[in-house]
């Protein structure tokens, strides 16, 4: 069973059409949940870290939220340059590695 599941696998939005990406996790002790953006042919770019349920962080058109079972990445009025694969990862207590989901590929159409 995957510890980190992202949905949907792919999402197409019209420019300006707000939506949310989901990341659900099943680790026993969450030390942190991370969101990254990855453009084709590049390494993941750090976006946010969330540490406790109820925490929210914002950056430009992106807002990340965290509950005890999942995290959402809300995208408000997206632009074509927001097109990328968004990766979620968890840092589990007792482990020093990040466990990644398979990502959501976002396409924003002008």
């Amino acid at each position: 069973e995957d510890q980190v599941t992202q949905s949907p696998e792919a999402l197409r939005l019209q420019e300006g059409e707000s939506s949310s990406l989901n990341c659900s996790y099943t680790v026993s002790g969450l030390r942190g949940l991370f969101w990254y953006r990855q453009d084709p042919g590049k390494g993941p770019e750090f976006l946010f870290t969330l540490y406790s349920a109820g925490e929210e962080k914002e950056k430009e058109r992106l807002k990340a939220t965290l509950t005890k079972k999942e995290s959402f990445l809300h995208i408000t009025a997206p632009k074509p340059e927001d097109s990328a694969t968004y990766l979620c990862a968890v840092d589990e207590a007792g482990s020093y590695q990040l466990t990644f989901g398979k990502g959501t590929k976002l396409s924003v159409i002008p």
Partner: protein, 113 residues
């Protein structure tokens, strides 16, 4: 400041050859991580270093894979007797300390023919 750098950016090799991949972390970052990203798969953890020591080697896929870090800075991931299934993007990340935010390099794209 400078981010994580990796070299080479691309590597094509023949099955059975050895390859070395290099990672230069962000200056001052004590923790360094190697991951592998295969087509259609998520990022897979390989190994991490705290300083020059590697407390967790559990992610290395086989004994053909090894890694070292010298001077608390540069790290090298070596794959011996490469196989076609080793073809992937190898990503390096660094953080100020373990369990801090990890910053990734651009990756090395390895193709084993």
């Amino acid at each position: 400041g400078a981010g994580v750098s990796q070299s080479p950016s691309n590597k094509v090799t023949e099955k059975g050859k050895d390859v070395e991949l290099r990672c230069d972390p962000i200056s001052g970052h004590t923790a360094l991580y190697w991951y592998r990203q295969s087509l259609g798969q998520g990022l897979e953890f390989l190994i991490y270093f705290q300083g020059n020591s590697a407390p967790d080697k559990s992610g290395l896929p086989s004994d053909r894979f090894s890694a070292e870090r010298t001077g608390g800075s540069v790290s090298t991931l070596t794959i011996q007797r490469t196989q076609q299934e080793d073809s992937a993007v190898y990503l390096c990340a660094s953080s100020l300390a373990v369990s801090q935010d990890q910053y990734f390099g651009p990756g090395t794209r390895l193709l084993v023919l």
